[in-house]
Structure formats: structure tokens, C-alpha cells
């Protein structure tokens, strides 16, 4: 599978005008790659994920296209996207565990889903049981109502349902945020096993928690205020970041082994800009310690090292000088 996103630009229609939530996103995900999509609230990561699979009002596609295995996805057309969903591209949405229909037993819900996709429910049962074992859920879960399950169990049920039809690309939107530490690890590792067993071919894992991505992702894409900041292999992002925002972000994360008394970490002063009327050029400009006049123009997202993309004029300068 291969995903190519080109110049994807999505705005939100609101009463007060257009919120420019996603601006010129261009990147690719290779076959078998687990890409992490990280950034703080309002950076556009959920917008990006949702526009790949469910671009509905108030979201509006301004320009750009998405190619899945070389085929252009009709993302702006909800009807024509139907055959792609679940089978080619699937999503585990945020708050998914609260989205299970409380009046339906799990088994019944799965049966209905399979029926709607013309898959033989009875024939599928052995495979279903195998998958239940994989996510460490007992087969009795099929006979239970959502309210009888714990948060972590519901999360795993949703993961199971989203991958039932072996989609090429799976989007996981903040699936670990509401979980305990122990469940987080289990769920994150399950995502990797989905890829290893080829239930899905590639994953985009959206989260604000970079340390989880360090554990499971092959590459990380950092976003800020609707713009792409940096994309690189995980090691590079965490230990050799090149975008000023990434650098400041990584250095502000408390880690086991770091004490306040020994080393006082610092955050990034200021707040992200309002996207209703965002500043011109690089949107990190106002908080960036390295900003200069060129930053009034939007920096392009280009490759500075193999597999390492950055959108920062300063970096291009230092790169040119090197």
C-alpha cells in the first residue's frame, strides 16, 4: 500500500468565517510504515485524519488530493467514499469507546457490520475468534453489552471492529489518551501486531504523546497550527530534531530520570495562533526564537536528509551553508 497526500488544504466553515485548519499538507506513507502524527491541540492532526476518510461539513476541501495505492480517493464525496471505508481505509475515532451502541450486544453489532459489507458472518466466526484472542478479549465478549466492559476492553473492541476487513490504511485517532498506563502499552503494542500480522498494511497513529510514538512508530510527522513542521524517522525526531518547534517541544517533556532540582525544563512561551485569521508565513514565527524576515513567507516542506522533511527557512540556510 502507499499513501500520497498532495497539497491537502481543508478549512472549517463557521459563522465567523473560515478556520484555516489544514494548510498545504504534502507527505507520503510507505507500505508497512507506522507513521505517528503528533502536535498540540489545534494543530490540525485530527482534521487531517478525518479529511482522509470523512470530509463532511463543516469541513470544506479547498484543494489537494489523496492517492491510495495510486488511486485518487474521492474524499470530498461522502457517497463515493463508502466502498473505500472499512475495506481500504479505516479509522478508530477519538472517544471511540463511547461510540459503541449501548443497546446492542457486541456480537450483534459485528454481525450487522459484516452483513452490510456482504461478508458471510458465520464463515467469518473462526477468524473473529482468532482476532479476539489477539487483542486479549475472551470470546464471551460477543455476548456482552458495552456497559459490561471496562474502558480498555471497549477500546480493544473498537480496534477489532475497525480492522475486521483488513484495510490497507488504518488511522488511530488519540486511542491511548483516555487509558491507564498499562492499557496504553497493551493497545499500542496491539497496533504494531496488527501491522506485523498484516491485518492492516500501514498505520497513521495520531496522538499528542510523543513518547508512545517513540515506542511504536517508524516515523513521526509533527504539525503546528495547521502546517506541517517536520517529518523524519522516529530516532531523528526525538534525538536530532531540526525544526525549532520540535526541538522546544521535545526538550519540554518531563522524563523519568529528570528532576526539577537538577535540570529545570522550559516550555514554549505564548500560545498557538487563532486559525480564523492566522499570521502570514510560518505560523510558529511569533513564538520561535530563531525567526527572521524570511519567515513571513510560508516555508516549503522539503527533504533535507534522506527521509527527513522540514519546513523552516533557518534550517534551509544552515543546510545550504553546510
Amino acid at each position: 500500500m502507499s499513501l500520497q497526500v498532495e497539497n491537502l488544504t481543508v478549512y472549517y466553515q463557521t459563522l465567523r468565517g473560515e478556520v484555516r485548519a489544514l494548510e498545504e499538507a504534502t507527505f507520503g506513507v510507505a507500505d508497512g510504515e507506522i507513521m505517528g502524527l503528533a502536535g498540540e491541540s489545534g494543530c490540525g492532526k485530527s482534521t487531517l485524519a478525518n479529511s482522509l476518510i470523512r470530509l463532511s461539513l463543516p469541513m470544506k476541501l479547498i484543494k489537494g488530493r489523496v492517492l491510495l495505492d495510486g488511486e485518487e480517493l474521492p474524499i470530498a464525496d461522502m457517497e463515493r467514499m463508502n466502498p473505500f471505508r472499512f475495506e481500504r481505509i479505516s479509522i478508530i475515532p477519538q472517544y471511540a469507546m463511547n461510540a459503541l451502541n449501548p443497546t446492542r450486544k457486541i456480537g450483534k453489532m459485528i454481525a450487522e457490520l459484516l452483513r452490510s459489507r456482504q461478508v458471510d458472518g458465520a464463515g467469518f466466526l473462526p477468524e473473529l475468534k482468532r482476532r479476539l484472542d489477539l487483542v486479549e478479549l475472551s470470546h464471551e465478549v460477543l455476548d456482552m453489552y458495552p456497559i459490561e466492559l471496562s474502558g480498555g476492553m471497549k477500546q480493544r473492541v473498537v480496534m477489532l471492529i475497525s480492522t475486521l476487513l483488513n484495510p490497507s490504511l488504518l488511522l488511530a485517532d488519540e486511542i491511548t489518551s483516555a487509558l491507564d498506563v498499562s492499557s496504553q502499552k497493551a493497545v499500542a503494542e496491539m497496533l504494531v501486531s496488527f501491522r506485523d500480522r498484516e491485518f492492516v498494511r500501514s498505520l497513521i497513529v495520531i496522538t499528542h504523546d510523543i513518547s508512545i510514538l517513540y515506542q511504536i512508530a517508524d516515523s513521526i510527522l509533527i504539525m503546528y497550527a495547521g502546517q506541517l513542521a517536520e517529518k523524519a524517522p522516529t530516532e531523528a525526531i526525538v534525538h536530532a530534531p531540526r525544526h525549532p518547534y520540535t526541538r522546544l517541544l521535545i526538550s519540554s517533556l518531563p522524563q523519568v530520570g529528570v528532576k526539577y532540582a537538577e535540570k529545570r525544563l522550559t516550555g514554549i512561551p505564548g500560545t498557538p495562533p487563532m486559525l480564523l485569521d492566522p499570521p502570514a508565513g510560518c505560523r510558529f514565527r511569533e513564538r520561535c526564537p530563531l525567526a527572521f524576515e524570511k519567515c513571513l513567507q510560508v516555508p516549503p516542506f522539503i527533504q533535507v536528509d534522506p527521509g527527513h522533511f522540514v519546513a523552516c527557512w533557518k534550517e534551509f540556510e544552515t543546510d545550504a551553508q553546510a
Binding site: 498540540e40 497493551a186 526539577y260
Partner: protein, 316 residues
């Protein structure tokens, strides 16, 4: 300064209140003057309940909480108000701590009305601006606004400033930064640590071990209402003794090393507590011969300033 002795909180649940839910079970620990203690636990551990018990928002079913030697459950009227002057709390969700139809400054006005009714306007204004600056806020930018016009970080700082206005000695910080963005989290955390140097004691309630390590000298690890391990933060993190703590340490995602392959049994649906150790169902090294399924292990001192409640680590 603050001492919990065998504190328990039991709720009656089920139809006709037949069943019992032990939110907090026989918890004892202390917080000294000018000390930051982390109360670490996942959901259902009882950590928030302990916070509310200390703040007198709930009353304990058994056991005793003392502040400077005085049992807080006996406080009434003006003495209770004195207690509130010295002990305050800040909660997890900055937005729901504010009454949405009023401006954010109202929380300060309430403090003035309740605690400083006679203070003159000018003097109060000075005091207020001083507190705001102490938490790193510019009074001109943040006053006279509605909560939804301020960011989560600003709202949390407001709440800390409110506590400072009272010149408190003890702050209960219940997951105060978990809903903030990563880049602002560290600033609020640093603020707490700075305040410690002014003599403030903090009970830092969190589920995030790296935060606990960053800011506290001592930590208390809770599981399902019981203390699993307790002691100096460095010792617990360097050499976790309780199987639950070990599991937590192994599960924390770190930026300097990858997860090891560790067998972790996940939480099934909450089973009713029987007599034995609360971690029995998930413990990889549980041993019936030691009595893990019948007796509650007591807290024993494994090394100096490092206590653990596990039969395998001593204590029969």
C-alpha cells in the same frame, strides 16, 4: 503537617445499597512542611478521593486525617474556615472549575467576600495583582474575561493564584496539568516547584510517573484504594519492589529506551474485592503459599524511606 492514618472511604452501591465499594482502603502517609509528595495511581486507585477527603469535600468512613495535629473531621464553623485558609485544591479540568456564566475573576471576588470582607479595594487589588504576577500572568491581559476567553494554562494558573491569595500552606493538585498542552504543562509544573521554595507543601496527584519523578521528593503508589509502595521517589523509581510498581515502570513510554517485552495482565472488569491482596488477580508472582489471596499485606520498610505492601518483600 498533614497526616493520614488508616483512612478508608466506603461507598454503598447496587440496588438497595447492598454492595460496598472500597474507594480508599486503610491508607496512611504523611506530608511534611515544604514537601512535595506525589500520589500516583491509575483510574480507580482512589487518588482523587483522597484529595477530596483532605479538602473536606467528602468525609472519611473510618480513620483519621490530621492537619498540624488537629483531626479535620472535627472542624466546624469558623475553625473550618481557618482550615480552608490554609488548605486549598486545584482540579484537573480547568474549564469546569469555573462557573461558565460568570467572568473568571469571580473566583477572586468570592475569596475576598468570604475571607477578607473588610479589606479596602485598593489594598485587595494590589494583593490580587501580586498573586497573578507570582504565577506568571500579566494582570492587564487576564482580568475581566470569561473562562472561555482564556486558555487552559491560564485558567490553571488563575486557580493557583487564588490559592496563593489565601497564603495557604498546603495545596492539593489533582491532575492539574493532564488537560494542558505539552508545551504549557512544564511551565505550570515549574510554578508548583517554585512555590515549594516559598514553603508550600503540595500533594501532587497524577497518573504520570515522569511528572511525579520531576517534581516530588517522595511518592505514594496507589492501587485500588490501597498503598502498594511508598517512599523516596528516587528509590522507588530506581528499584521498584511491588509487582504493580514494576509493571507501571515497565509500561511508561520513555524517550530514551524502548519497552521491554514484559508480561502484563490487563484489567478485566472490576471484580469484587475479596480478602486478599488487591493486586492478586493481575500479579505475575502471586503466591498462595504466602497468603496473597487471603490476607492484605501490610506496609513494611524494605529499606530506609522505602515501604512496600507485598508478602514477597517481607512482612508475613
Amino acid at each position: 503537617m498533614l497526616k493520614l492514618e488508616a483512612v478508608s472511604k466506603i461507598y454503598r452501591i447496587g440496588t438497595f445499597g447492598g454492595k460496598e465499594l472500597h474507594a480508599v482502603s486503610n491508607v496512611s502517609f504523611e506530608v511534611e512542611d515544604g514537601e512535595v509528595v506525589s500520589l500516583i495511581g491509575e483510574s480507580g486507585s482512589g487518588k482523587s478521593t483522597i484529595g477530596k477527603l483532605i479538602l473536606r469535600l467528602l468525609s472519611a468512613s473510618s480513620g483519621m486525617i490530621t492537619f498540624d495535629g488537629v483531626d479535620i473531621s472535627t472542624l466546624q464553623g469558623p475553625v473550618l474556615k481557618e482550615y480552608r485558609r490554609r488548605v486549598q485544591g486545584v482540579f484537573q479540568d480547568p474549564f469546569s472549575s469555573y462557573n461558565p456564566i460568570f467572568k473568571a475573576d469571580r473566583i477572586f471576588r468570592i475569596i475576598k467576600q468570604e475571607f477578607f470582607p473588610e479589606m479596602k479595594r485598593g489594598e485587595w487589588q494590589e494583593r490580587l495583582e501580586g498573586a497573578l504576577r507570582a504565577v506568571g500572568l500579566n494582570p492587564d491581559q487576564v482580568l475581566d474575561k470569561f473562562p472561555h476567553q482564556l486558555s487552559g494554562g491560564q485558567l490553571q494558573r488563575f486557580l493557583i493564584a487564588r490559592a496563593l491569595l489565601l497564603n495557604i500552606q498546603f495545596l492539593v493538585a489533582d491532575e492539574i496539568i493532564s488537560m494542558l498542552d505539552a508545551s504549557t504543562r512544564i511551565d505550570v509544573l515549574n510554578l508548583l516547584a517554585d512555590l515549594k521554595s516559598r514553603g508550600l507543601s503540595v500533594l501532587f496527584i497524577t497518573h504520570d510517573l515522569s511528572l511525579g519523578y520531576y517534581i516530588s521528593e517522595r511518592a505514594v503508589i496507589l492501587y485500588r484504594g490501597c498503598v502498594a509502595e511508598m517512599g523516596a521517589t528516587e528509590k522507588i523509581y530506581a528499584r521498584p519492589l511491588h509487582p504493580y510498581t514494576q509493571m507501571l515502570m515497565a509500561s511508561v513510554p520513555r524517550l530514551d529506551e524502548k519497552w521491554k517485552v514484559v508480561e502484563t495482565r490487563l484489567k478485566a472488569q472490576e471484580s469484587e474485592l475479596r480478602g486478599g491482596c488487591v493486586y492478586y488477580d493481575r500479579c505475575p508472582v502471586a503466591d498462595r503459599a504466602l497468603g496473597c489471596d487471603t490476607f492484605r499485606p501490610p506496609l513494611v520498610e524494605a529499606e530506609q524511606n522505602h515501604f512496600v505492601a507485598c508478602f514477597r518483600c517481607g512482612g508475613a
